[in-house]
Amino acid sequence: MAELKEELKGKIIEVLNLEDIAVADINDSDPLFGEGLGLDSIDALELIVLMDKEYGIKLSDPKQGKTIFQSIESMAAYIAENRTK
């Protein structure tokens, strides 16, 4: 799980073009939206694409996103349980 979390942080930084943010700057429990990484609605859509492209997970219910994308911890847990690749 620790490895998946690190991988996820790297992918998020790359896909969302987070300038001046390193993997080490993101804590597993930091909120991704709002006060944490300050992501916006377009970033949320990019995360949905990332889940599909990298892990074969299709999120059909947008309401799920709020819980899954709460933090790296919640994202990694969901991926570990539902990944198809």
């Binding site: 073009n17 300038e19 300050g38």
Partner: protein, 202 residues
Amino acid sequence: MMVSYINKYCVVAKERVVVDAEEQFTSKDDSFSAFVKEAFKQRNSSYPKFFKMDSLSKLGMLAAEYTLAEESTDDLALVLVNKFGSLDTDVKHQESIQDGDHFFPSPATFVYTLANICAGEISIRHQLQTENIFFVADQFPVKVVSAYADYLLASGKAKRVLCGWIDFFQEKYEAVLYIVSPEGEKQHTEENIASLFRTLED
């Protein structure tokens, strides 16, 4: 007839940023992404959203950042033009949907598939709630842009107008921005506008 003036101008091309004939930034790195990042950071501009923009918006933001430094943006309108529209980003988006088996369009790319998003990004950054327009034309239409800027000033729709050319396609880029105002020294004439564009050839 409206008499107006060019207050300030900025040219971004060939890894250089020039403001009012003075070089403000130059880079030895010939990749656009490295150049624009470095030049933007030099202004001490803390604006994380900049790094998420497409190349056209980054170019426009960079030119606006240097042009509007220490300038009032009160009732400042925007009149922008380019040749390639958002084609550079359109191509990237098209590539992401080319293969049906790997169909992953990027929302962050898709939102930039319109040239006037560049005007929107500049407006958000400088809190402009004014008139804005983005024309697409083969060459900078001096008569149209100068008449439009003068109309905005004469009608009271704007106190000043940021005009210019912001063009990007496949690593080739040029930007010329200038502020048109009812007050100043250098007259807003077709010849004076043309002279700003000649600096692109330097």
